[in-house]
């Protein structure tokens, strides 16, 4: 007791952080509060969580409970000061626990294996013995080569009754746990670097427009240091369905007024420039922009002459090489036909853009019809010409997630180290081996003793193999 009292404050804090109980408490607190955070939706409008709470605890309790949880920071708990504190305590605990045990383990790793007495070998968890006639020295070389065959490099020492080989493998694997612990710290460090030196923002960029800033959640501007333009945005669909196959944005990066980079990004395939990465995240229609949209057509005559036409709803074009003209008199962002075959618009977004074109031909009869961007079969004209509806451009915006995270490489490094650490910890082991050759009344005895700190079963197979090899050696030695 007296000794306890004399401990300095630092020692006591150290002991606290090194204690298993403290680790268990932190583990539990992080786990339990995290659970709350998955039920209470994070960073959403209060109504959502009020409904959740009302469902769980009744209408009357919900508002009080909400305000309590809100004050405690549960509505954005993973970034609250107390949660971050717990994560840091966890890191401290990890560091102290590891450092506390490291000297002992390092001693185990560094200390070379020594020869053992036969009594000790007989107490090993894995042991075999082989008897043969003759002197031990006669079989020395065979034994040594058998040990090498199972992957050990044996040392040799003289004993009273003969000699002993001893060897070990993978003593460093005892450090696997510490490598894993270290990797967690590296990942946390990377996360902190990302938090302080990086940012997360978004940018809704309409087709044809350029931006030099992105916006944080609160609306604050983040300067990019370069310009980015959305040249085009498109959704590909699976066949005729409305099921999206790909979201694609054609982006151009400008630096000092010069075009420096071009890329078509899609989900899972972002663009990175000067450490800032742009991810395809969402899309939408710029409000009240339909009348500004550019209709992009490729118009071809029946003898194959074609040209690109950029026009607007209400505009007209001529089929090349002819005097036939088409006038776009109607437009629908999402055209469908009801059972009676009447056209109607089913959505305000560009799900299935269509133009209605009235053709006048001085020679033949005038005709008209809907031409749909997604349905090439509507592009053919009755007189053999063709109007390809390429795009309705300038009304959509691409929603980009913009991120700068200098810590991400450190996080990845941590992940690689963690994988290595786990592999060493779970799939490798520190294996030790003693093989003693002793003479007993004219016969010689080979005694094998072995131990492994993990995966004993597979080591036992190796020892079985060694015993087999020595058995063969015995036959050869007769």
């Amino acid at each position: 007791m007296e000794k306890e009292k004399n401990k300095s404050f630092i020692d006591r804090v150290w002991d606290l952080f090194a204690s298993v109980k403290f680790a268990v408490v932190i583990f539990s607190v992080i786990a339990l509060t995290s659970m709350v955070g998955t039920v209470v939706e994070q960073n959403v409008e209060p109504e959502k969580n009020l409904t959740v709470l009302a469902k769980l605890f009744g209408e009357s309790a919900a508002p009080t409970l909400y305000s309590i949880l809100d004050k405690l920071g549960f509505m954005n708990m993973y970034h609250s000061w107390w949660f971050v504190t717990f994560l840091l305590l966890f890191a401290m605990n990890l560091i102290v626990c590891s450092l506390d045990r490291l000297p002992r383990i390092l001693k185990l790793v560094r200390e070379p294996i020594r020869p053992l007495s036969e009594e000790h070998i007989e107490k090993m968890s894995i042991r075999r013995s082989v008897l043969f006639k003759g002197k031990p020295s006669a079989l020395k070389d065979e034994v040594a080569s058998a040990i090498r065959k199972i992957g050990f490099r044996p040392s040799e020492s003289e004993t009273e009754k003969g000699l002993q080989f001893y060897a070990e493998k993978g003593s460093f694997t005892r450090l696997g746990v510490y490598i894993t612990h270290l990797s967690i710290l590296i990942i946390l460090a990377g996360a902190i670097i990302g938090l302080y030196f990086g940012f997360n923002a978004y940018l809704n960029l309409p087709e044809g427009q350029t931006s030099t800033v992105a916006y944080k959640d609160g609306g604050a501007e983040v300067p990019l240091g370069f310009g980015i333009r959305c040249d085009n945005f498109e959704v590909d669909y699976y066949g005729d369905s409305d099921m999206p196959k790909a979201y694609k944005s054609w982006l151009t990066v400008f630096k000092n007024g010069k075009e420096v980079m071009n890329k078509v990004i899609s989900v899972n395939d972002p663009l990175t420039y000067e450490g800032i990465t742009f991810y395809q995240s969402s899309f939408g229609t710029v409000p009240d922009s339909m009348d500004r949209g550019v209709v992009v057509l490729t118009v071809a005559s029946k003898d194959g002459k074609s040209e690109q036409v950029n026009t607007r709803v209400g505009g007209a074009f001529t089929i090349p090489g002819t005097s036939e003209t088409g006038k776009i008199t109607n437009f629908s962002p999402a055209l469908s036909f009801d059972q009676a075959g009447r056209p109607y618009t089913y959505d305000r977004n560009l799900l299935n853009p269509a133009i209605f074109v009235e053709f006048s031909s001085p020679a033949g009869k005038p005709f008209s019809g809907w031409i749909l961007q997604r349905y090439p079969q509507t592009w053919n004209l009755p007189d053999g010409g063709r109007v390809e509806f390429r795009s309705f451009w300038g009304v959509q915006y691409t929603g980009l997630q913009v991120r700068k995270d200098p810590g991400v490489l450190i996080v990845y490094l941590g992940c690689i180290i963690m994988a290595i650490g786990l592999y060493i910890t779970f799939f490798m082991s520190h294996r030790r081996l003693w093989v003693s050759l002793a003479e007993e009344k004219g016969t010689a005895r080979i005694l094998i003793g072995a131990s492994a700190n993990r995966n004993r079963a597979s080591y036992e197979k190796d020892i079985e193999k060694l015993a087999g090899l020595l058995g063969e050696a015995r036959k050869g030695g007769k």
Binding site: E41, M243, M418, F426
Partner: protein, 364 residues
């Protein structure tokens, strides 16, 4: 797509696994070697049929998607992932049966497989092959999802053997570990039965196949519109828990009668977690983070799925550490192993069915 060749083989494997469950339990009860041999044969037949079904579905998906083999992995929705989970579980079980030459585990693992397959049917989840949404079009899909499910099945094995360990190791009825396993086993059986009843009423009374588990789970029992049935369900559950608690010792006698030592059970529990944990860390957490970084621009968002994976990871990390702690070996760590799998179930199903978040592919 329900008439395709793969679904026929899936059907065969489902029937085989349910039959195997009955046989393994029969084997446990009557201790006739013939029953055991038949049980193993039926399980292997079911496994082969399921393997073929998964490969056929892969092919069907490949033909529809036209995005290459890697992006046609049949692991893109809840139905497919559950099927793959069962496949891994049965494979792990067969390895254990042949390695340890003991069929006792079958009675504990085949019910998990049967429960999952029953769950698929009652939930009325879509079995159609759905084209990949843009977010899933990544080569990480194969590694991330497959490794996650391999680890889940390892954890399921550790759950079964951990539970068996507790059954073998506890003798007194007032022991916390005894109460723990009887309650866990009761909950397991009650949920199985309640879902079975849901299944029956679903088949005969509910017309709409569209109704998801969200609205339908336990409607035949605990959440019945008639409060009498609901109360009765609670009463029956309480009674069942009591019966299992009162006569649980019989189960210990049965298991110990099979020459299966507590040490073997502890070893299998540890080994499956020692295999599952690194696979889960790498495939589930690390590959998941890398993929999230690529697709969403954030490697970690505290999305419910991620958070629950982390909680699960904490559970098993705790299991691995507590084995090294004084006074924790044996029953206490076995309880951690059992609870760890409860966390797995919640990570896998609970999050998709009860909580919202970015990771919503699984609930489709």
């Amino acid at each position: 797509m329900s008439g395709s060749a793969s679904s026929v083989f899936f059907g065969i494997s489902t029937i085989a696994y349910v039959l195997a469950m009955v046989l393994y339990i029969g084997y446990l009860a009557f201790r006739k070697k013939t029953i055991g041999v038949v049980a193993t044969t039926v399980t292997i037949a079911g496994f082969l049929s399921q393997t073929l079904a998964i490969l056929l579905r892969w092919k069907e998906f490949y033909d529809i998607g036209q995005m290459g083999w890697l992006r046609a992995v049949p692991l893109t929705n809840l139905y497919e992932s559950l099927i793959f989970f069962v496949w891994c579980l049965i494979l792990a079980y067969l390895v254990i049966e042949f390695k340890y030459k003991n069929r006792t585990f079958g009675a504990f693992i085949t019910p998990v497989a049967a429960l999952v397959l029953a769950f698929i049917d009652i939930s009325g989840m879509s079995k159609n092959i759905q084209p990949l949404v843009p977010a899933l079009q990544s080569n990480w899909l194969l590694a991330h999802v497959m490794m996650s499910f391999i680890s889940y099945s390892m954890f399921a094995v550790s759950f079964s053997t951990g539970l068996m360990y507790l059954i073998v190791k506890t003798e007194k009825r007032n022991e916390p570990a005894y109460i723990f396993w009887t309650v866990m086993l009761s909950i397991f059986i009650i949920v199985l039965c309640a879902m079975g009843l849901d299944y029956l009423t679903f088949k005969f009374s509910v017309k709409s196949q569209e109704e998801l588990i969200k609205g339908y789970l336990f409607k035949a029992t605990f959440r019945n519109s008639s409060s009498a049935i609901s109360l009765l369900s609670w009463a029956v559950s309480a009674a069942l828990t009591f019966v299992i608690w009162r006569f649980g010792g019989a189960l210990r006698k049965i298991i110990t009668g099979f020459n299966i030592s507590a040490e073997t059970l502890d070893e299998i529990t540890y080994k499956s977690i020692a295999m599952g944990f690194p696979i889960f860390t790498l495939g589930g957490l690390i590959f998941g983070a890398i993929w999230a970084d690529q697709a969403w621009g954030k490697y970690w968002t505290w999305d419910p799925k991620e958070t629950w994976s982390l909680i699960t990871w904490f559970f098993y990390a705790f299991y691995l550490h507590s084995r090294l702690m004084r006074g924790w070996r044996g029953k206490k760590v076995a309880m951690v192993a059992v609870l760890g799998f409860v966390a797995v179930i919640f990570t896998y199903l609970g999050v998709n069915l009860l909580l919202s978040g970015l990771h919503s592919y699984g609930s489709q």
